[in-house]
């Protein structure tokens, strides 16, 4: 009997769409050239890259030369923070100036760790403010503007939080930052606004001008494209130095032979994402509502983490009192279901999810949290199966912990 498999971890990664894979295949062994080579083989590869670059640029409302291809969102985020630091600190007119970064406390670890790393490596040159969200998991615009100083060079605020799916007020912050940016004179430090839109691209408009952004990060494998490729959108005029050297690719912003097959896949995935955005939002929002109703009806004590309203169509994050997250993930995995948890037991550092703690949840609530993230291949039958298995697994674990009073 075939084992039932239901994947509910789309925020971790997504399967490559068949159409994306089809477009990628010729680039492996047929049109395999290095996009930087001068000969015909390179030209063919370069054209394929340029087509993808154009598609991606158009989807963001920017120019092709404002798209910098990277190995993924982690690299893009590292480049955004470290590249701006390097670029600005190297200019003579900004010598001896301390550079201030504003980063939300609920960013992905690659943003947080990049900021912490800059602080550790350059304690006399870097200051960082970490902004706390409210209990709903939203960083309020006023929190951002209140933290701005004359030497603030970058505000980095993710568009959709990867753990609890809450939507951050990017457009509002962008609008509030505009007059502040305009007031800065050429002798002052510039102020840039960056957003990690990795979890947002499938569902939300990511036009940089609409949002007031100078930089944007996103990657392919969250939008039904391949792993190993992403982009950093960098508006013309942003002062950014490379983190990776050697060849001067991507307008000297990121050296390294381009991942042609990955980039072609990325472009195709972006095109499909834009085309299918509306219908995916509708379908997946309805599925999320259906699953959440079932969970709340069947599992006593289930409590949602993060705003139920300002929430990405595909994210549910529930805490189930009386159980621990890792054991629930394991039981569900035995039933063929893939989800993830904010529990300390499952992390490499044995620390509870920083997002859960940042929104004011205590450790018990963080430890009992499970993230369900939906995607375009799920059916109602899948969701019914998950609800049934979830109820059974929670009951089983609650029987094991019944006498533990907390």
């Amino acid at each position: 009997m075939k084992k039932t498999l239901v994947y509910l971890d789309y925020a971790a990664t997504t399967p490559v769409d068949k159409r994306v894979l089809k477009k990628m295949l010729p680039l492996f062994s047929v049109n395999f050239g290095n996009a930087s080579s001068l000969h015909h083989f390179g030209e063919v590869a370069k054209e394929a890259v340029n087509n993808s670059r154009k598609t991606i640029a158009d989807s963001l409302g920017i120019l092709p030369e404002e798209v910098v291809f990277t190995s993924g969102a982690t690299e893009s985020n590292n480049l955004a923070l470290k590249g701006i630091f390097k670029g600005l600190s190297a200019l003579p007119k900004y010598k001896n100036k301390k550079l201030h970064f504003i980063v939300s406390a609920i960013e992905h670890p690659c943003v947080l760790d990049s900021a912490k790393n800059l602080m550790a490596d350059f304690p006399n040159m870097v200051e960082v403010t970490f902004l706390l969200p409210n209990k709903e998991g939203i960083v309020e615009p006023k929190t951002v503007t209140d933290a701005i100083r004359p030497n603030t060079v970058l505000v980095s605020l993710m568009y959709v939080n990867n753990e609890i799916g809450t939507i951050q007020p990017i457009k509002e912050v962008g609008q509030l930052l505009l007059p502040i940016k305009k007031k800065r004179r050429p002798t002052d430090l510039p102020l840039y606004f960056h957003s990690d839109a990795t979890q947002a691209f499938s569902y939300f408009d990511c036009n940089l001008d609409n949002l007031g952004l100078d930089l944007l990060t996103f990657s392919a494998h969250k939008i039904y494209g391949p792993k190993g490729v992403g982009a950093l959108a960098v508006k013309k005029g942003v002062i950014i130095a490379p983190v990776q050297h050697g060849g001067g690719h991507e307008w000297k912003k990121r050296s390294g032979t381009l991942n042609v097959s990955g980039i072609v896949g990325f472009g195709e995935a972006v095109g499909l994402a834009k085309k299918e955005r509306k219908s995916n939002v509708k379908k997946i929002t309805a599925q999320r509502k259906y699953l959440s109703q079932k969970i709340e009806k069947e599992i006593e004590g289930a409590v949602l983490n993060g705003s139920p309203v300002d929430r990405s169509p595909n994210n549910l994050n529930y805490s189930f009192p009386g159980i621990e997250g890792e054991s629930l993930v394991l039981l569900l995995s035995q039933a063929g279901i893939g989800v993830s948890t904010g529990s300390a037991c499952s992390s490499e550092t044995l620390k509870a999810s920083h997002v859960q703690l940042a929104i004011g949840n205590d450790h018990l609530r963080a430890h009992s949290s499970i993230r369900f993230t939906l995607g375009k291949y799920l059916t109602k039958k899948d969701l019914d199966y998950v609800a049934k298995e979830l109820k059974s697994a929670v009951n089983r674990l609650r029987a094991i912990s019944r006498e533990i009073k907390v």
Binding site: S327, L330, S333, S346, L350
Partner: protein, 132 residues
């Protein structure tokens, strides 16, 4: 941080996790040991009944309750198997390494769970001795 990597559990750990032994509570326990802390995320409770046999006090019955990860449940289950029928002195000698070894090993970051199990047993025996 959300789960990035699942700890690699041995077959024995998975077995004890999926089919825990001696899970439950004892109505009138002779000793209760409760350990753990919410920050780490694992809480364990051991109930014991002590009988005198051939002049020695032995653990005649032992049950566990746990709010914790796969390792925590597995180590709780294993320690009840190791302790049942032992004298109090023998039981107090059971170490985290005994528990881990009986489970064919635990990932290094999960060894603290086996320590918790040994501690819970120690607490239960201490509780019994105090009550006597």
């Amino acid at each position: 941080m959300l789960i990035k990597k699942m700890a690699l559990y041995s077959k024995k750990v998975m077995d004890h996790f999926l089919s825990p032994r001696n899970m439950g509570k004892i109505e009138n326990p002779d000793g209760v040991g409760e350990v753990g802390n919410p920050v780490c995320g694992d809480l364990m409770k051991l109930f014991i009944k002590v009988k005198k046999e051939k002049g020695k006090e032995i653990i005649s019955e032992i049950k566990f309750q746990t709010l914790g990860c796969g390792s925590a449940i597995a180590t709780s289950s294993m320690i009840t198997e190791l302790a049942k029928g032992k004298t109090l002195d023998e039981a107090l000698k059971i170490t985290r390494n005994d528990v881990a070894k009986s489970l064919d090993g635990l990932p290094p970051e999960k060894m603290h769970c086996s320590n918790l199990a040994a501690d819970a047993l120690g607490e239960a025996i201490r509780d019994y001795k105090n009550k006597k």
